[in-house]
C-alpha cells in the first residue's frame, strides 16, 4: 500500500501548493476526476480478492475523501485570499467628512418659552394668547392706566397710524402681555390659572433694550389666592427653571397700576469676575414685577372683585434666557447671525419636559 501513501503525499502537497483555482481544478481532475489516478485505482477493486478488497476499499475511499476535503478547504482559502485582496484594494480615506447634513436649531426664545410652559403646566396653568396690535382699551384702560397716567408715558408705546376721520384712539403695539389677562377672563371667566407668553413692543433701543422683546404674564384668580401664594409660585418656578434648589427671592414694594399691592421681585445672586451665580452671594437682581390684581382690573374684565382675588406677574423671556444660558447681548437675539443661532440654539428634538428635565 505504499503506493497510496505516495499518491496521498503527492496530491495533498500539490493542493497545498496550488496557486489558483485553475491549478486546483487540474489537480482535482488528475486525482479524483473520472480518469484520475484514484478513480483508476478504485476501478481495480473489482479484480481483487474479497480479502484484498476489504483492505483496499476503505483505504481508497479514505484517500479520496481526504483529497476532496483538501480541495474544498484550499478552494475556500483561495476565495478568502482573493476577497481579502479585493478588500485591501478597496481602501478609502475614512477620515473624510461624512456627507454634509444640515442641523437645524430652535431659538432660545422658543426653547425657554416651552420650558416656562412645562413648569407652569405642572402647577395647572394653561397658556393663553392675544393679539399684538392691541386696542388702547385692553393695553391701558382695562388695566387701570388712564390716558394721562404718567405710567403711560413710561411705557414708550408704539402707536399705530390712524387715518384722518377715524376718531378711535389709535391702536398700540402691546407694551406688555397683560392685555391677555383681560381678554382671557372676559372669554373664559374665573377661577383661572394662565400664563401668556409672547412678543411685546416698546420704543426703546440701546445696549440693553430692543424695540421688540418677549414677556410672559402669569395670572391666577380664585377666591382665596394670596400674595403668599404668589411668592411660593415664583419660588417654585425659579427653582425649577434655573435648576437651583436654594433660590431665594425678595419681594420689594413697588407700584404697577394694575396690581395692588405691587412688588418687584429680586433674586439672590453673586457677581464673581463678571460671572453671575444665582442663589448665593449678597447681591440682589430684579427679575420681575408682580402683585395682587387690582379690583378695577378684575371689574374691567367682568369679574366681581368682592368675590375673587388673585395675583399676576410678568417676566422677560429673553431676560431669563440670558440669565439661564449666559447669553450676553439682547440685541443679538433678533439679528439672526448664523453663528449665534447655532451656538445658542437648541436641538430640534430637545423638547423640555418635566419628566426629562427643563434645562439643557
Amino acid at each position: 500500500m505504499n503506493g497510496l501513501d505516495d499518491l496521498k503525499a503527492k496530491y495533498l502537497g500539490g493542493i497545498a501548493a496550488a496557486k489558483d483555482e485553475v491549478a486546483l481544478e487540474e489537480l482535482r481532475l488528475a486525482a479524483v476526476g473520472k480518469k484520475g489516478e484514484v478513480a483508476l485505482m478504485m476501478r481495480g477493486l473489482g479484480k481483487m480478492t474479497p480479502e484484498e478488497r476489504q483492505v483496499a476499499g476503505p483505504a481508497f475511499n479514505a484517500l479520496k475523501n481526504e483529497i476532496n476535503s483538501a480541495l474544498t478547504a484550499k478552494k475556500a482559502g483561495l476565495a478568502d485570499a482573493a476577497l481579502n485582496e479585493r478588500l485591501q484594494s478597496e481602501w478609502i480615506d475614512v477620515s473624510l467628512a461624512g456627507r454634509p447634513r444640515r442641523e437645524g436649531t430652535i431659538h432660545p426664545v422658543s426653547q425657554v418659552t416651552e420650558e416656562v410652559i412645562a413648569i407652569f403646566a405642572d402647577l395647572g396653568f394653561a397658556v393663553a394668547e392675544g393679539p399684538q396690535i392691541e386696542s388702547d382699551h385692553y393695553n391701558f384702560d382695562a388695566l387701570n392706566i388712564a390716558p394721562e397716567h404718567p405710567a403711560r408715558q413710561e411705557h414708550d408705546t408704539f402707536y399705530m397710524h390712524r387715518d384722518a376721520g377715524d376718531n378711535r384712539p389709535p391702536h398700540v403695539l402691546r407694551t406688555h402681555t397683560s392685555p391677555v389677562q383681560i381678554r382671557y377672563m372676559e372669554k373664559h371667566g374665573v377661577p383661572c390659572r394662565i400664563i401668556c407668553p409672547g412678543r411685546v413692543y416698546r420704543a426703546d433701543y440701546d445696549q440693553t433694550h430692543t424695540p421688540m422683546f418677549h414677556q410672559y404674564e402669569g395670572l391666577c384668580i380664585d377666591k382665596n389666592v394670596s400674595m403668599a401664594n404668589l411668592k411660593w409660585v415664583l419660588e417654585e418656578f425659579c427653582r425649577a427653571f434655573f435648576g437651583i434648589d436654594d433660590i431665594e427671592l425678595r419681594f420689594r414694594a413697588s407700584h404697577f397700576p394694575f396690581t395692588e399691592p405691587s412688588a418687584e421681585v429680586d433674586i439672590r445672586c453673586s457677581w464673581d469676575n463678571g460671572q453671575l451665580k444665582l442663589g448665593e452671594g449678597d447681591d440682589w437682581m430684579e427679575i420681575l414685577g408682580s402683585g395682587m390684581v387690582h379690583p378695577k382690573v378684575l371689574a374691567a374684565a367682568g369679574v366681581d372683585p368682592e368675590e375673587y382675588q388673585g395675583f399676576a406677574f410678568g417676566m422677560g423671556i429673553d431676560r431669563i434666557a440670558m440669565l439661564k444660558y449666559g447669553i450676553p447681548d439682547l440685541r443679538a437675539f433678533f439679528d439672526s447671525d448664523l453663528r449665534w443661532l447655532k451656538h445658542y440654539g437648541f436641538a430640534a428634538l430637545d423638547v423640555p419636559t418635566m419628566h426629562g428635565g427643563i434645562s439643557r
Partner: protein, 804 residues
C-alpha cells in the same frame, strides 16, 4: 429723586445707621438706585504732618518731604506749591484708591527718589474743584486719625451721603424730602419732626392781583396764591443752601431761585418767582388761544397750543403754567421786588402741555403726578418766610384766586381682607397705626387719605400702604393648592401643540430658527403685499421699522443678506411668528416660513452638493403640513403672488380657496432688492388653516395587509410639456381604485433632446404603478387589462400617448 442724609434728618429724628435707612427705603418701594457716601470713599485717607520739605535735587518744582504719619515718618515727593514743613495734610498711603484721579497709590520713585504715598488736594478726593495745592488742615488734628472724622467735625456737608431713589408714578409725595421722611417714620426708622410753622404777616395789599378764568378755575387751576415782597436783596444764597442744591446736582443761581428749587425738592411744592417790576398790571390765568410765544427760563422759545394753561400780564404771556416761567418776568440778581407764586395745577392739563412742548422740568414732573393742593398757601408762606429771612424786604398780604380744592374722600378698611390678600398676618391695630403714621385719618372702618396722596383711590390702595410698610420682605411663600387631584391634565390647545410641532419639524429638517422684528421698512413690506397705512406705526423708532410685516420672508431675506455679508453664502433659516394683514387686533396670523439659500451644503468630496431648488421647498412644506395633520391629498395651484418666480412656485391648497402653504423659488427681482445672492427658495405654511380633527378617539382604523404579492408596472407617456405630472398620476390612479395602491413619477425627459425625439413642445413622463391584488394573485391577463385602462385614462386626461 436725590437728597442728602442731613436733609432727610432735617425732617426725621433718627439714629438709624445709613444702611438701615437705605434698606428701609428700598423695602418701602422707594428703590435706592445710588448712594454716594464720602465716608466710604474717603475712609482710608488719614491726617499727616509735614516735618520737613527739601527741594528735590533733580527737579525744580518737587519737594522731598519727611511726613509724620500714623505709621511713622515716611518720605513723600510732592509737587504742590504749598507743600512745606509745619502743615497738617491729608495722606493717601500706598494701596489707597484716590477717586479724583482714579488711581490706587503705590510706592514709586520720582526722579530717582522713593516716595511712599501722596498728599491730596480737594479735587483729588472729589470734595471740590480746588486743585491749587494740597489741603492744609486747620488746628492740630491727630496724626494718623481718619480724615473723614476731621471732615465730620469741620465741614459735615462734605461727608453728607447723597441718596438717589426711584419714585414710582403713584408717589408724588415722595418727590419731596419730607414725604420720604414720613414713610421712614411710618416704618419705625425714627420720628417725623414737626412741620415748621411760617409766621408771615402781610402789611400791605399786593400791587399785583391775580384772576383765574372761569373755565380754568373749574379744572386746570382751582387755586392760585401769591405774595409780593418789596425791597429784597437778591444775590448768592447762603452756603448751606448752595451745598444742599449742589449735592443733588442743581446749580445755585440766586437766593430767590434757589429757594424755589429747595421747596420743589423739600416739600414737593414747586414755586415761581416773578420780578414784580417786570410784571405789567395783574396776572391772569387762562387757557392759551394758541400761537402765543414765550421765551422760557431755559432760554428756548415755546409756542402755546390752544388749551394750554398760561399766566399772562398786560404784556402778554409770562409763564407756561405749572411747567416753566418766562425770561421776560424772571428774577435776576438785581431784582428788588418779587412776586412769589404758589398754585395748584391740574395733573392732566399740565401733563398734556408738557408733553406737547417737550419740556421736562422739575415743576412739570411734580404737577403731573400731583402735588398737595392743601399745602399751596402753606408752602407759599414757608417760602416767603425764608425769603424775608435771607433777602429781607416787606411782604404783602396773600393774594388768593380760587380756593383749595376739596379732595376729601373715604374708603373702607377691611382688616381681614388685608390679611387674606397679602397672605400675612398683620394686627388690625398695626394696620390702623400704619395708616395714621402716613397721614391717613381713620374713623372706625372709614379711612380718609391725606391731601398729599392723590394716588389713593380705593380700599385696595389701603392694603398696599399697609403691606409695604409692614414689609413684603417678610412674606413667606404658601403653596398654591393644585386645581385637581391626580395626574395633571394637558394644558395646550390643539393650535398651541400645532405651533410647537411645526417649529420643531422645520428645525428637524435642518433649518435654524430666527426671531426677527415684527416691523420692517415700507418698501420691503410693499414688495410682499403689505406696507399700507393700516399697518403703519405712527411713531416708528426708525424708518427700517415702520410697518407691520405682511410676511416672514422679508425678515428672513434680510437676515440671509446679513449672513452673506459676513461670508456665509448657504443657509436654511426659518421663523414661526405672526404676520399682520391689517391694523386691527384680529388681523394677525401665525405662519411658519422656511428659507433655503445657496447650496444644500458646503463643498464636499462626495459630490453631494447641489443648488437648492423648488422641490426642496415643496418637500419641506409638505413635511410641515404632514406633521401638523393636514390632509395628504392637496391641490397644487399656480396663481402665485408677485414675490415668487411665476414658473417655479406653487400653492398647496385644500380645495381652490383654502390655501395651506406656498412654496417655490423667490422672484429674482425680490432677491436683488433684498440683497440676497440666490438661488433662494422658500415655503410658508398657514399653520392654523388645515382643519383640526373632530374625532377625539385614539383608536386607529384597522390595518389591512394583503399576503398576495404586489406587482409594479412602469409606463412612459409622451405629453405636452406643460401637462402637470399630478394630472397624469391622478388619472393613472383613477384607472382602478381597488387595484392600484400607488403611482409615482420616476423619470421625466424634457428639453431640446426630448423635443427632438418626441416633437416640439413635448416631454416624456415615466411612471410606476403598484398593483396590489386583494383576492387572488394577478394573472398576466389581469395585468394587461388594468394596464390598458391606465393607458386609456392617462391619454384621455392628458392628451398624451404611451411612449413607443
Amino acid at each position: 429723586m436725590k437728597f442728602t442724609l442731613s436733609w432727610l434728618k432735617a425732617h426725621l429724628e433718627t439714629d438709624a445707621p445709613l444702611d438701615d435707612i437705605l434698606y428701609a427705603l428700598t423695602d418701602l418701594g422707594l428703590e435706592v438706585e445710588e448712594v454716594i457716601n464720602p465716608m466710604d470713599t474717603l475712609a482710608a485717607f488719614t491726617v499727616a504732618y509735614v516735618k520737613s520739605a527739601e527741594k528735590h535735587p533733580d527737579a525744580d518744582r518737587l519737594n522731598v518731604c519727611q511726613v509724620e504719619t500714623g505709621k511713622g515718618v515716611q518720605q513723600i515727593i510732592c509737587g504742590a506749591p504749598n507743600a512745606r514743613a509745619g502743615i497738617h495734610v491729608v495722606l493717601a498711603s500706598p494701596g489707597v484708591y484716590v477717586p479724583g484721579i482714579d488711581t490706587t497709590i503705590g510706592v514709586g520713585k520720582i526722579r530717582g527718589i522713593e516716595s511712599f504715598g501722596m498728599m491730596a488736594s480737594e479735587r483729588e478726593m472729589e470734595l471740590s474743584d480746588e486743585h491749587d495745592g494740597i489741603i492744609e488742615l486747620k488746628g492740630e488734628p491727630e496724626v494718623g486719625s481718619r480724615f473723614v472724622d476731621y471732615l465730620a467735625e469741620h465741614s459735615p456737608d462734605k461727608i453728607d451721603p447723597v441718596i438717589d431713589i426711584a419714585i414710582t408714578p403713584n408717589r408724588p409725595d415722595a418727590l419731596g424730602v419730607r414725604g420720604i421722611a414720613r414713610d421712614l417714620a411710618a416704618r419705625g426708622i425714627g420720628t417725623l419732626k414737626p412741620m415748621p410753622v411760617a409766621d408771615v404777616k402781610g402789611t400791605f395789599k399786593s400791587d399785583i392781583g391775580v384772576t383765574i378764568d372761569g373755565d380754568v378755575l373749574e379744572k386746570g387751576c382751582p387755586l392760585f396764591t401769591g405774595r409780593l415782597i418789596k425791597g429784597v436783596k437778591n444775590g448768592p444764597s447762603p452756603a448751606w443752601l448752595q451745598a444742599r442744591l449742589r449735592a443733588i446736582g442743581l446749580r445755585p443761581i440766586s437766593t430767590l431761585v434757589d429757594i424755589t428749587n429747595l421747596f420743589t425738592f423739600e416739600y414737593n411744592r414747586p414755586l415761581h418767582v416773578f420780578d414784580a417790576d417786570k410784571v405789567a398790571g395783574d396776572l391772569r390765568v387762562h387757557y392759551a388761544q394758541g400761537g402765543e410765544v414765550l421765551q422760557a427760563l431755559d432760554e428756548k422759545e415755546y409756542t402755546f397750543d390752544a388749551g394750554m394753561m398760561a399766566i399772562s400780564d398786560d404784556n402778554g404771556v409770562e409763564s407756561i403754567a405749572g411747567i416753566m416761567g418766562g425770561m421776560p418776568s424772571g428774577c435776576s440778581d438785581v431784582t428788588v421786588n418779587v412776586f412769589v407764586e404758589s398754585a395748584y395745577w391740574d395733573p392732566i392739563t399740565t401733563a398734556k402741555a408738557g408733553r406737547k412742548l417737550k419740556i421736562n422740568s422739575d415743576a412739570r414732573y411734580r404737577f403731573e403726578r400731583g402735588v398737595d393742593p392743601a399745602f399751596t398757601p402753606e408752602g407759599l408762606d414757608l417760602a416767603c418766610a425764608m425769603i424775608l429771612e435771607l433777602c429781607g424786604g416787606e411782604v404783602s398780604k396773600m393774594v388768593v384766586a380760587g380756593a383749595v380744592p376739596d379732595v376729601s374722600r373715604q374708603y373702607k378698611l377691611d382688616t381681614d381682607r388685608v390679611q387674606s390678600l397679602v397672605g400675612m398676618s398683620i394686627d388690625p391695630a398695626d394696620q390702623v397705626a400704619t395708616l395714621e403714621a402716613l397721614g391717613f385719618t381713620v374713623e372706625g372702618d372709614q379711612v380718609t387719605p391725606p391731601t398729599w396722596r392723590p394716588d389713593v383711590l380705593g380700599s385696595a390702595d389701603l392694603v398696599e400702604e399697609i403691606a409695604r410698610v409692614a414689609s413684603l420682605t417678610k412674606l413667606v411663600g404658601v403653596p398654591l393648592p393644585r386645581t385637581s387631584v391626580g395626574v395633571a391634565k394637558p394644558i395646550l390647545t390643539p393650535m398651541q401643540k400645532r405651533e410647537a410641532m411645526a417649529r420643531r419639524t422645520v428645525a428637524a429638517l435642518g433649518y435654524n430658527e430666527c426671531v426677527t422684528y415684527s416691523f420692517i421698512d415700507q418698501a420691503s413690506a410693499a414688495m410682499f403685499g403689505g406696507g399700507s397705512d393700516a399697518v403703519k406705526i405712527g411713531n416708528p423708532i426708525s424708518s427700517d421699522m415702520s410697518h407691520m410685516r405682511p410676511s416672514l420672508l422679508p425678515g428672513l431675506l434680510a437676515a440671509a443678506a446679513r449672513n452673506q455679508a459676513r461670508g456665509f453664502a448657504d443657509m436654511a433659516l426659518f421663523e414661526v411668528g405672526p404676520v399682520f394683514q391689517g391694523g386691527e387686533p384680529d388681523e394677525q396670523e401665525l405662519i411658519a416660513t422656511g428659507l433655503l439659500v445657496g447650496y444644500t451644503g458646503p463643498r464636499d468630496p462626495h459630490g453631494a452638493r447641489r443648488a437648492v431648488d423648488v422641490f426642496d421647498a415643496k418637500a419641506d412644506a409638505e413635511a410641515v403640513l404632514s406633521a401638523i395633520g393636514a390632509p395628504a391629498k392637496l391641490m397644487v395651484l399656480r396663481d402665485v403672488n408677485d414675490w415668487w418666480h411665476p414658473g417655479r412656485s406653487g400653492k398647496l391648497s385644500l380645495g381652490p380657496k383654502n390655501v395651506l402653504a406656498g412654496f417655490g423659488e423667490l422672484h429674482p427681482k425680490v432677491l436683488k432688492e433684498m440683497g440676497v445672492k440666490g438661488p433662494a427658495v422658500a415655503f410658508a405654511v398657514h399653520i392654523a388653516k388645515p382643519p383640526f380633527p373632530k374625532n377625539k378617539g385614539t383608536t386607529r382604523p384597522a390595518l389591512k395587509i394583503s399576503d398576495l404579492q404586489a406587482v409594479d408596472r412602469d409606463f412612459a407617456f409622451v405629453v405636452d410639456a406643460k401637462v402637470d405630472a399630478l394630472t397624469l398620476l391622478n388619472a393613472a390612479k383613477g384607472a382602478d381604485k381597488a387595484l392600484i395602491a400607488d403611482a409615482s413619477v420616476f423619470d421625466q425627459f424634457t428639453g431640446d433632446k426630448a423635443e427632438a425625439q418626441m416633437g416640439e413642445g413635448k416631454k416624456s413622463l415615466a411612471i410606476t404603478v403598484r398593483l396590489q391584488p386583494k383576492g387572488a394573485t394577478l394573472t398576466d391577463k389581469d395585468i394587461e387589462a388594468v394596464s390598458a385602462k391606465i393607458i386609456a385614462k392617462v391619454e384621455k386626461a392628458t392628451g398624451g400617448v404611451l411612449r413607443g
